[in-house]
Point group: C2
Chain length 525, copies 2
């Protein structure tokens, strides 16, 4: 007989506890020797400096953070999975590589990193806080997991997130509530509340969190951490479970919850440069800019309120005092107010998030019989959420095409992907007025946003002898192909100019021009 959602949830929660070895089980009073505080009190940047030089071993660092993560979980309920043995095995392997080669595998060599339950991780469950997904095993690694792995990270925990994913606190029927370490009556923030409370408890030096409406920053805020939401357009989204597909208007970002600005920089550079990934169609890959420390005194804008919800006294005081400190340090602070009605903005933001009307979320909750978080329903009604769609399909096509392009490397002499795609511009060298043209050869590159060049073939025109009509052709099953074939008559097209289309991947505009120059030389030179 199938288990009901309460039984599933109880089993899920107990299994995390069961995975904690006896030595890390919390006694009534806490013994500081349970974990190595000398290690776990350090920041990621401090630790990797020692790990990369072999001054600390990954095994000892991982052991220390495993212990402290176990303690953290028992205090604030921040994990959905705990696998110290796997982490320690990977740590051992990394220690051996460094010993053998003398070279760290990457900028995070041997560092333990916590991974949120929203990121696909091969062999682990992705529940996203849904009871129905309690045993939803991942078959791929998310791009973020891949790049951290490439950079030398060690994985040993998965962290909690709220049911629906669209909440600034962390609660689910499946795993219960994640609590704030400063005050367990308070929220850990969300949706990366597991990340925030785990890092605040020093159970991980950092976690790569995700944020489409505050989900990196709310846990950072409520747990007193350093955190960054990078420009979403620059962050890799592949393999990230989404609570609401089709989010093209407002995109999800990923960035660290951590303990210092140095850690913010260390992690953000890895995430924004898509460390070690061969391709990533969900983001702009910009070079990491080297910004020197500012030579001049700076100018700051100060926004004390959005005119919707007035910050409580402590926040107002913090802003006043910081402004004063910055002025004392010689900087400038000027008042700034948003140029629009932030209430209208918030309403639209909700509607833009739920491109599919939240139907997947509601279906997932309903499928196991677990109750929906009531406020979530209230939000949907308040902001009049409707279904939009199609963006999801477009994103999938973009991935498929990028992958197909990448896979051409198995066919080229060089072993790299093709330099350029050559394609028709249109299925004809021009059309009579009023003829319904098939746009597909053009609009495909709009859908994918791949740059494309039209190159005229100067020494080639439509030729009545060479370009005879194939009278035996059987048109494909669409109205355009039939018309395109039927209308063609070499006589009518005589001497029309012929062009070809050259295509490269998104953002490779300069490379495309360079390659087109070669073709131009070959064809027209």
């Amino acid at each position: 007989m199938a288990l009901d959602w309460q039984q599933i949830a109880s089993t899920a929660q107990q299994s995390v506890i069961n995975s904690i070895p006896a030595k890390w089980r919390l006694p009534q009073t806490l013994d500081p020797s349970l974990t190595d505080l000398d290690i776990t009190e350090q920041t990621a940047s401090e630790l990797v400096a020692q790990l990369r030089e072999g001054k600390l071993s990954s095994v000892e660092v991982t052991e220390a953070f495993c212990g402290r993560a176990a303690i953290a979980h028992q205090c604030v309920n921040c994990l959905t999975a705990f696998f110290p043995d796997e982490g320690l095995a990977r740590a051992k392997q990394l220690d051996e590589i460094l010993a053998e080669t003398g070279k760290p595998v990457g900028p995070l060599h041997g560092l333990p990193v916590g991974i949120k339950d929203i990121l696909h991780m091969k062999g682990k469950n992705l529940t996203m806080g849904y009871v129905v997904w309690h045993d939803n095993k991942c078959t791929i690694d998310a791009s973020i997991v891949q790049m951290l792995r490439n950079a030398g990270a060690v994985f040993y925990v998965r962290t909690t997130m709220p049911q629906t994913g669209m909440f600034l606190e962390t609660w689910s029927n499946l795993f219960g509530r994640t609590k704030n370490p400063f005050n367990t009556n308070f929220s850990a923030g969300g949706s990366s509340g597991g990340d925030g409370s785990l890092v605040a408890m020093k159970g991980a030096p950092f976690c790569p969190s995700t944020d489409i409406g505050g989900s990196i920053r709310a846990p950072g805020t409520f747990n007193g951490l350093y955190a960054m939401r990078p420009t979403a357009e620059r962050t890799a989204k592949r393999g990230m479970g989404t609570p609401a597909p089709g989010q093209i208007s407002i995109k999800v970002s990923s960035g660290p919850n951590c303990h210092s600005m140095a850690d913010v920089k260390l992690v953000t550079e890895i995430l924004l440069t898509h460390y070690g990934l061969p391709f990533e169609p969900t983001a702009v890959r910009l070079p990491w800019k080297q910004i020197p420390a500012p030579a001049e005194k700076l100018s700051f804008g100060l926004m004390t309120s959005d005119s919707c919800v007035t910050p409580q006294p402590s926040i107002a005081r913090a802003l006043r005092e910081i402004a004063e400190k910055l002025r004392e340090a010689g900087h400038e602070v000027i008042e700034f107010s948003p140029p629009f009605d932030c209430w209208e903005v918030a309403r639209s933001t909700w509607r833009l998030w739920f491109q599919t009307g939240a139907k997947e979320t509601l279906a997932l909750v309903a499928s196991s019989g677990e109750p929906l978080y009531p406020t979530f329903k209230w939000y949907l009604e308040t902001f009049d959420i409707k279904e939009l769609t199609l963006n999801t399909q477009q994103a999938e096509w973009r991935y498929q095409f990028a992958e197909a392009w990448h896979n051409t490397k198995s066919k080229t002499r060089s072993g790299g992907p093709i330099d350029c795609l050559i394609a028709p511009c249109a299925p004809s060298a021009g059309f009579p007025h009023g003829f319904p043209v098939w746009w597909g050869y053009f609009s495909l590159w709009n859908l994918l946003d791949y740059p494309s060049i039209v190159l005229p073939l100067k020494y080639m025109k439509v030729d009545i002898d060479k370009d005879k009509k194939d009278t035996t052709y059987v048109p494909k099953d669409n109205v355009f192909d039939k018309m395109n074939w039927e209308i063609y008559d070499p006589e009518g097209w005589k001497n029309q100019p012929i062009t070809i289309q050259l295509v490269a991947k998104q953002y490779d505009d300069e490379e495309l021009i360079s390659v087109a120059e070669v073709i131009d030389q070959v064809c027209n030179g």
Copy 2:
């Protein structure tokens, strides 16, 4: 009495003809001396090399292209406005600047450039082929117009586009049909058909065209020109009239129709680097990559068909012959097929274009009583176009915010915009479990996609004496503000950590980190 649409259209068409001085009116037989062929037969790159060094004057080049544009219009009906006097006056000014300073004003110094009727141009009409907009005077310059002006271009014509803008040929009730110079029974392509036929007739060395589904490349293709659709994400969209607002899934791009690869490169660099623009919130500004000529032989993919519409024999032959030539030159050519069903892709593409269900287009056509192009209606029905919305409003907010940010320069000591915005993270230093948090301080930066950092204030905690409740506060007219104020009680928040939020403009992630390090030092150092 109001004019009917036929009278308006007749007046519009005659006014372009009337603006052509007698000396450029076409006689029965064409005299080559009507325009300077030595000048107009050259490419943009060739001309600017001479213009920038004063070897050709802008006045003589502009005069030559004015004449040839007049001839082109009388042959193929490619203009919506002709203003040679203004062009010649600007040319004279540019000649004087070069004579006085010895320096060209930019990479296009003194070059005449045609501007499509879709781009706002101060003082000129923007009709977009709608009868109702026959006297729609522009009050701003589109970003593309601004950057070309900055680069030293001379404007003297506006070029035709089709009614609805979403067509690969160029016909409107207002201006009639634009014809193909190679065969006037054939279409000039669209929507930049005026650009394509004007450039093919050498009435302009190049035009910056626009393309969301082939509108740069169809005119390039059917007029035998060089043309490029750059990555849309890199191109500036501000001040471009849109036939279908809210196009976020598939974005419009802009690039040249011209006569050589050198011209493609010249113009595309100006467009993608947003030449001389202080800010442009509609595009990623990437550095222009310097790509050396390929040192190795290249690998090309060859896509001969999309399996929907089979190219006619001349196109198939061109692709075969080009592949052969490239192989002979030592390059590699491999077969490539799209990894998905291109018919499904085309259907979705149509729906993604019309985020607002084409309601603006239909309303504009209806408002003057002009008939709608019947095939357009057929397309909308075939692809089941529905209203989506909201993206338009989001784009406007992004612009307003970018502008407000830019305008802070009037308040700073340095005269530049602020380096960073300091704002609350949330309206409280944490909340009890289950409390409905106001997301606005977080989600605003998601909507705008501005990077933002949470910075903890290590030496500041909620203090029951310093952070007393303001019992006289009158909440704003929304449920969140009332709850945020009511719940606060210093005792309950005692010792909660306090954080602030630091924000920079989209893509300025590294700059934000650099500035945050300064603040971190001041506050926590």
